[in-house]
């Protein structure tokens, strides 16, 4: 009898939960549209900044400095997306989103900002470019999805550009961390040694190496997840072709 009772009450609760989960309310949707529009605009500013700086200088070198502030601002702003998941207005996993956003924030602040010597490296331009193009597409994708008017081009771009942008970004990120290593070791940046009254130690140099190693299992998983998503989302086009 207890099994039956818990069965019915669970079903009822499930219905109520399902109704609640039908999507963000009108206010949340309006907020999210504004958020995604602002982010799209922000990354467009960074894109334009990069192009203008390149045209003005005539070289790829040192373009980071021309977009340093908007990059920091808009990439850090993405932390709000973790909040969106936690509150429930966006149906993604808090942990997954948190992980993705924090890895970007880590590279922006704990590597590029903190180790001045790497700021003039070409690898920085590599990942900044990858991030910029990816984010412009991603945020416009969300904007249009929320407004229920998603142009196929944007959907296609979101699930296709990553094929090149993802490896490009990862390469830029890894090369940048690698470039930072000697300076971190020399200056003991963010490192704590024994003895101290809290009996704790932290070696940032080793930590960065471990981060680099962690790309090996993580990157393929994320990459192939996106490839599978691509087949699911865009796959039906190929099916129609086969029918003919």
């Amino acid at each position: 009898m207890s099994a039956a009772a818990s069965g019915t009450s669970k079903a009822a609760h499930g219905d109520v939960a399902a109704k609640r989960k039908k999507g963000p309310g009108a206010l949340a949707t309006a907020y999210l549209v504004i958020y995604n529009v602002v982010m799209t605009a922000g990354w467009l500013v960074i894109a334009v900044g990069l192009v203008r700086a390149y045209l003005a200088r005539g070289s790829y070198h040192g373009l980071y400095y021309s977009i340093e502030k908007p990059l920091k601002f808009f990439q850090t702003g993405a932390v709000l997306e973790i909040l969106h998941c936690a509150v429930g207005i966006v149906p993604s996993s808090v942990v997954l989103t948190g992980f993705q956003v924090m890895s970007r924030v880590f590279l922006t602040w704990a590597v590029t900002h903190s180790v001045r010597e790497v700021q003039s490296e070409d690898s920085v331009l590599l990942f900044v470019t990858a991030w910029t193009v990816t984010e412009i597409i991603r945020y416009s994708f969300y904007t249009f999805s929320l407004l229920n008017h998603l142009p196929y081009l944007i959907k296609w771009a979101r699930y296709t550009f990553f094929i090149v942008l993802y490896p490009m970004g990862v390469t830029g990120e890894l090369l940048t961390i690698y470039a930072a290593l000697p300076y971190v070791q020399k200056t003991g940046l963010y490192s704590v040694t024994l003895p101290n009254k809290y009996n704790f130690s932290f070696d940032y140099y080793t930590f960065l190496i471990l981060i680099m190693i962690s790309y090996i299992p993580l990157f393929p998983q994320l990459y192939f997840h996106m490839i599978r998503q691509r087949k699911k989302v865009l796959g039906h086009i190929e099916d129609y072709g086969k029918v003919e």
Partner: protein
């Protein structure tokens, strides 16, 4: 694994003396399958594919089924007994800590191999840490009464990584040649030790009280109440005082060693225990209508 063979039974139960047909199938029988890899502990039988598992004690006649019943089978994956998991989880930290305490080679610079710390608090910490895990092992063997027999196998890897990893991390610093003893010296250590011992006794008292709630072999559930033992009077204010005392023990140990990794371990443990305590508190409230309203899950009045 091959799919379980679906075998249809028509079971009639006769009275042994009169041979009258009784017609009751009065226990949920485990699925008859030829492959011994489908042992009972990993079978979940339920009325609804996404619903809760039926228990061994459930009686067919009391379930909301008509004359034809449809059950859904779910494979819970490889299972391992709770006792095995606990013993493995707790033996690890016990052994690992001692490896660091005795400064076994390849951990610290070679000149320190097999030396001992000059700080007496380090020896005290080793005794406390070891005592704690020996107590846990003995409780697992002689005190605890488990309501579920098993848990999924992958849990043992996750749990051991947590316990063994943290034990190694803590032990590394406490037994390090460059270890710095607590700022407030003997006074701090003495208070910390009192807190630690008090909470160890408290935690043990709660485990005994919970054990005595349940007669051997039964799975009955009752509300725990304070007993004659003063350490159990905390039941007046808290649903899961075993976790409260556990937190207290580790706070004592943190104070005793003044070691940041120990503080982290205490924090992570506290978060996990709070999650468990809230869940337990909620199920107490759901199951018992007369559950004392003054009680909080883990911290009196606060959490």
């Amino acid at each position: 694994l091959s799919s379980p063979a679906v075998v249809f039974f028509e079971v009639e139960i006769l009275d042994a003396k009169t041979k009258d047909k009784l017609c009751f199938l009065d226990k949920i029988c485990f699925l008859f399958v030829s492959d011994p890899q489908w042992y009972p502990a990993r079978q979940s039988i339920r009325l609804d594919p996404k619903g809760k598992s039926l228990k061994d004690e459930d009686v067919l006649q009391h379930l909301p089924v008509g004359t034809t019943a449809t059950f859904y089978f779910r494979d819970l994956g490889a299972q391992i007994s709770w006792v095995t998991v606990f013993l493995t989880e707790y033996t690890g930290p016990l052994v690992i800590y001692l490896l660091f305490y005795f400064r076994v080679p390849f951990i610290y610079p070679p000149k320190y191999d097999f030396t001992t710390s000059k700080h007496w608090v380090v020896h005290l910490a080793c005794m406390c840490h070891s005592f704690h895990y020996v107590k846990r092992l003995l409780e697992t063997l002689f005190v605890h009464r488990f309501s579920h027999g098993t848990m999924p196998l992958r849990n043992i890897f996750k749990n051991c990584t947590y316990y063994w990893g943290f034990a190694a991390w803590m032990a590394y610093y406490i037994n390090h040649p460059l270890y710095t003893p607590p700022i407030y010296g003997e006074q701090q250590i003495r208070i910390a030790l009192i807190i630690f011992l008090f909470c160890q006794i408290g935690n043990f008292s709660i485990h005994i009280a919970l054990r005595n709630l349940r007669p051997p072999g039964s799975k009955t559930r009752k509300i725990p109440y304070p007993t004659k033992n003063p350490f159990t009077w905390i039941f007046l204010l808290v649903s899961c005082p075993n976790y409260t005392y556990e937190l207290g023990s580790w706070l004592g140990f943190t104070l005793m060693t003044q070691c940041l990794p120990v503080a982290f371990f205490t924090l992570v443990g506290f978060i996990q225990m709070t999650v468990w305590a809230k869940g337990k508190h909620r199920s107490y409230l759901k199951e018992f209508r007369d559950y004392p309203p003054l009680r909080s899950p883990i911290l009196p009045f606060i959490l």
